[in-house]
Assembly symmetry: C2
Homo-oligomer: 186 residues x 2
């Protein structure tokens, strides 16, 4: 089904310098040979990947508000989190949904998987939609503090205008939800 | 118009360690005080921000195919690039569009601005739509190699299924285009 990736203009790695190995990301600087024979450097962030869930309860979606240190402000986002090593994607999405919102999903449907910043990072985010939720229990990570609420599509669009929602996965989920309401399918 | 950001659960910076200052990104590790009084570390990537353009010529959008070293493969994306210091957003978007595709836009409409990876990076991407294009000249950066083509909405959706298109800004642009065709407005 998937065509093999075209690798025209491939950049050959001449050397790779590890700079940092952290809890969430690592950073390396690769020296590459360009298609014209010249060399260049590429700063590359490695990330384990993440899952996110558009979780719908009747006509409302679940969102969480949390402080984002990288942005220096709080943001409203759909439930999400990074993958644990070897973790199954659907299990990870169900885990994050329940940890952050207290809701359990029987089944999830895959909506899309996308690279967040292909210019410098390999992070991939797998987005799912969940309907038919049942109430479980919130249990946050020890360094995680957030509030959960459920909002309508109109509220979500208002939050986007107010920049309370301003991240790629959540805006993408709102677009997908809007398309679902117009076309009847995800 | 924009509400002040809520900063409930704010994390106070206790110290900030610079790790790396590169050509594109920088990395720091902050030690923070959490709302419960405990401390934690936050790995933070700083990025200058970027612009991207959904450029439509009649019923086709312009895309470029280029090798992405962070992903180890080529990808099809809308024209985009990072901001130069002090650069005006609309001028930057026009510049990247013309450099990569050879098309000039008289005017651009702002579609959305979003953080690509708020968990660890401050990169913000400003997405514009351009219609009424006129042919100018391609002039790529010296370390930039890419091919430009124009594709229909159906081809774009096929590319997404084939994972030739798989980054957040391009999938978001395709969603916005699809919504435009259904609703008549961006």
């Amino acid at each position: 089904m998937n065509k093999p990736a075209s690798n025209k203009y491939e950049e050959t790695t001449l050397s790779s310098q590890p700079i940092f190995q952290g809890r969430v990301v690592s950073l390396q600087v690769d020296t590459v040979r360009l298609p014209n024979g010249e060399t260049a450097t590429r700063e590359i962030i490695r990330h384990p990947g993440a899952v996110a869930v558009l979780a719908l309860i009747e006509d409302r979606m679940l969102v969480v508000e949390q402080y984002r240190k990288a942005l220096g402000k709080s943001q409203v986002e759909i439930p999400a989190g990074k993958l644990e090593p070897e973790e199954d994607l659907v299990e990870a999405a169900k885990r994050e949904l329940e940890e952050e919102t207290g809701y359990r999903a029987e089944s999830l449907k895959h909506l899309s998987s996308f690279y967040t910043s292909p210019g410098f990072a390999d992070e991939i985010l797998h987005l799912y939609v969940a309907e038919h939720l049942e109430k479980g229990e919130v249990h946050l990570d020890e360094d995680e503090f957030l509030d959960c609420e459920s909002i309508t599509l109109e509220q979500a669009q208002q939050y986007i205008r107010e920049q309370r929602i301003s991240d790629s996965k959540t805006i993408m989920a709102v677009y997908a939800w809007q398309l679902y309401k117009l076309t009847g399918s995800f």
